[in-house]
Every structure is written in structure tokens, then in C-alpha cells.
Amino acid sequence: MDASSIYARLDDVTLSFGEHVILKNCSLDIVRGAITCIVGLSGAGKSTILRLLDGLIEPSSGHVYVDGHDLCHTPERKLVELRQKTSLAFQFAALLDSLTIGENVGLPLREHTALPDEKIRHIVDDALESVGLRHVYDSLPNELSGGMLKRAGFARAIVTRPELVLYDEPTTGLDPIVTNLITDTILRLRQKLDGTAVVISHDLHSIFRMADYVAMLFEGAIIAYGPREEIRTSTNPFVQQFLTGSEVGPIPV
């Protein structure tokens, strides 16, 4: 695969918190314009990978590239600029609870652009509409259900039209109907933005609906990676066990 088709890349990344090694010589390519799903056990380090790609944390060793820029050893001021290309939709939305939903979603625009208020209002309404939320502009985050909050989080993530959107467990803990709705939303948003997405998910059904590529993280490294169909039919015993949910196999229960 030639370099221009890779939008972001973890290159031999090792990351430890104190004695605890989270990622060990982990490498992963994120294909431009595609949806890459990352699967793995809880605590495997999936969220950590998203935080690395967003430049929120630095690896202990190795490099993180986004759109050709090395995020490591980059001064905060430059990172602020680079982060505008990337958005992270947090697992629990992480909306500011002192602001209304509308103010939350409009925040990056108000802070980073000189757009007039009516224009921002219009873009925010549009973003909320595109995640299927209406009449919540003036609600506070604690007045919304978990699924609505997540979608408001997506709206905030996409409102600046970023090139790369990182979704942390967008469907975990939601009912099947909302899960479907969110899967559709991610697919639609990727098309609308014409960008790249990385999605962490445990939900096999939605993974195989939206993923172009699937990567499996185990014990700090990517142990399987490939196009969706390749992973679905993989004979790798780790992948097999994960897909069937069996207690018997190489992954200790």
C-alpha cells in the first residue's frame, strides 16, 4: 500500500504508565477514507490508541503520524493546530456540563472561527440534525439519555468537519435499535465528511456493517489486521475465539 493511502499510523509504539506496559511495539496503519474498527478486550489499550492519535498523550517510544505529521515531541501550540484535523468522540460524550447541548456543539466553532452567531447556530442545528437530535439545543447534558448524549458528542466531533473522527465505543451499553441508529450515523457521517474514521467497538454486528478494515488488539499489540472479509473468515485462533465468543482458546478468560 503506498504512503498516500495511509492517513494515520502508529509506528512501533510502546507506552507504559509507571511499571504497567499498555502498548508494546504496536504498529497500525489507518487507511485514508476508510472506517477502521479496533476490537479487543476491556483494558487492552483501545482508548489509549485513540488518545495517541488525537495527540492527547505521547508514547514512551515510537512515533504517531497523522496526515504526515509526527505528533511526538511536538510543542503544544503546533498540536493545537494539528488537533483541528482530528476529533475524538469520547465514550461517555464528555460534554461540558455547564453548557447547553447547543453551546457544547458550537464551542469549537465559537473558539476557532470568526463566524457570526446566526451562522454558528445554523451549523450546529445542522450537525444535531445529522445525528438525529432535534429540540435539544437548550437542554443541559444531564437532561439527556446516554444514547442522546453520545450522539450530541458525535455532533460536537463533526461540527468542524475534521478529516479524521475517532469514536470510542460509540455503541457500548445501548439498546439494539439505538446501536443500529448510531452505526448508520457513523456511516453517513463518514460519507458526508468524506474523511477517515476509527471506531472502537465490541458489537460484531455493527462492526461487520461499517468496517472497511478491522484490527484486533491483544496484550499491547495488533495481532490481526485486514479488510473486513479477511478478518471474518480468518483462521487466526485469537480472532476465531473473539468472533465466536468462546471460552475455549488462546485468550485467557
Partner: protein, 258 residues
């Protein structure tokens, strides 16, 4: 060996803490210099913390002024120098107790609230969300709180000074029959305008202590709801100790050379 190890770890932790606070101060100054100030937020914060602390500041300083007056009037009248009570009350209020008590009350009420609010924003990833959007938590959260405290704490101190003197005057009259004119003229002799200004300089320094310690404890919160509790408690403990310590140093520097 064990002791030495402990001592070493303690020193490193202290230096880390100091480094953290210093870099927070540095980033706040940079934000201020570049005039990256959120005025609306600063106004809201000032209003809330000023109004929220006013009653408790007034009550504590009223009783303090009253008790100083009570104690000194008793002694003074015995020795026939009742006319000095006004000076004693005003002197201690304006130079020491007004700024200190106000700062301690505000540290307990506002410093803890700042640490709790920012700490819970850390554990719910709201701080990460700000950084992810390319927004500086220092500009967004720390600077407005710092400015609000720097404005409101001196103001509250002025109220505290006044109410404590009024309380003292009342007790002096009711208890030792020292009339208000005597009280006030004695106060005027003992305390000059520059004493008031120096007291307000103290208040300004205390405001910075409360803001930076509260924000720093909040921002360095780790480990869920329990972590928020720890951050809140240590914000209050650390700022109160620092307030007492700096108060001594500032009294020495500002008043000690007379």
C-alpha cells in the same frame, strides 16, 4: 535506608508539585499577557464567588471584631486607657485578621469548589475534551477563576475590615462605655491609608494562592469520585497552610521594617 528512601520520594513529590504549580502560573501569565480572557465567564465567576462568600465573610469578621474589642476593652478600661481600644481593633483587623480570615473562609468555600469542579471535569474526561478541541484548560478555566478571585477577595476584605471595626465599636460602647467618637479618633491615629493598601496587597496574594492551588489540585485529580474528594480536601489544607505562611512573611516585609 528506608527513611532515606522515603525522604527522597517525598522530596521528588514536592519538587514535582512545585514544578506543576509553576508551569500553571506560567501558562496563566502567558494567557493574560496575550489578553486571552473569557470576560463573560470571569464575570459569572466573580459574581458567584463574591456573593456566595459575602454573608459568611461578614459574619466571621463581625464576631472577630467584637471579640477583639471585648478582650481589649476589659484590659484597657482596667488600666485607664479605654481610649486606645479603637486603635487596637482597627489595627488588627486591617493589617492581619481582615485579609487572613477572609482568605481562609474563601479558601474553604471557593478553593474547595474550584478543585471539586475541575476535578470532576478531569474524571469525566471534560478536560481531555477541551484539549482535544484545541482549547487550553488554563485559558478556559483557570484564568477566569484567578481573575475573579483577584477582584473579589480584596473587595470582600474591605467589607470584612469595615464590619469588624463596626462590631468592635459597638461592643466597646455597649460593654466598656467607650463612645464612638473616641473609638474612631483612636482608630485614625493607629491606622493609616497605607495600612489598608498593604492589607489589600495581602488579599491579592492570597487570591492567587487559592486560585492556583485549587485549580492545580483539580487538574491533577486521579482516580474517580474518591480522587475528587481527595483533591478538594488537599486544596483547602494546602492553601490554608500557604496563606498562614505567606501572611507571616508579608507582615514581616510590609509592616516589620517600621
Amino acid at each position: 535506608m528506608r527513611v532515606l528512601e522515603r525522604f527522597g520520594a517525598g522530596t521528588i513529590a514536592f519538587l514535582e508539585y512545585l514544578g506543576g504549580i509553576v508551569s500553571l502560573i506560567g501558562e496563566s501569565i502567558r494567557s493574560l499577557v496575550h489578553a486571552q480572557i473569557r470576560y463573560a465567564e470571569t464575570f459569572t465567576q466573580s459574581y458567584e464567588l463574591g456573593l456566595g462568600s459575602l454573608l459568611i465573610v461578614l459574619l466571621t469578621s463581625l464576631f472577630t471584631g467584637m471579640v477583639i474589642s471585648l478582650e481589649s476593652a476589659q484590659q484597657a478600661v482596667q488600666f485607664g486607657i479605654g481610649s486606645l481600644v479603637g486603635g487596637a481593633v482597627t489595627y488588627t483587623s486591617v493589617r492581619e485578621l481582615g485579609p487572613m480570615l477572609t482568605a481562609v473562609v474563601v479558601a474553604g468555600r471557593v478553593g474547595s469548589a474550584i478543585a471539586a469542579e475541575i476535578g470532576s471535569m478531569v474524571v469525566t474526561e471534560q478536560i481531555d475534551a477541551l484539549r482535544s478541541m484545541g482549547l487550553s484548560p488554563v485559558r478556559f478555566l483557570v484564568v477566569p477563576r484567578l481573575l475573579a478571585l483577584a477582584i473579589m477577595l480584596p473587595l470582600l476584605t474591605i467589607f470584612a475590615d469595615i464590619i469588624s471595626i463596626v462590631g468592635g465599636m459597638w461592643i466597646a460602647q455597649a460593654y466598656a462605655h467607650i463612645n464612638p467618637e473616641t473609638f474612631i479618633s483612636s482608630a485614625r491615629q493607629a491606622v493609616g491609608f497605607e495600612d489598608v493598601v498593604k492589607g489589600l496587597v495581602k488579599a491579592l496574594v492570597f487570591a492567587c494562592i487559592i486560585a492556583f492551588v485549587g485549580c492545580y489540585q483539580g487538574l491533577s485529580t486521579r482516580g474517580g469520585a474518591a480522587g475528587v474528594g481527595r483533591a478538594t480536601t488537599s486544596a483547602v489544607v494546602i492553601s490554608i497552610i500557604l496563606i498562614f505562611g505567606t501572611n507571616f512573611i508579608m507582615s514581616y516585609l510590609l509592616f516589620g521594617t517600621h
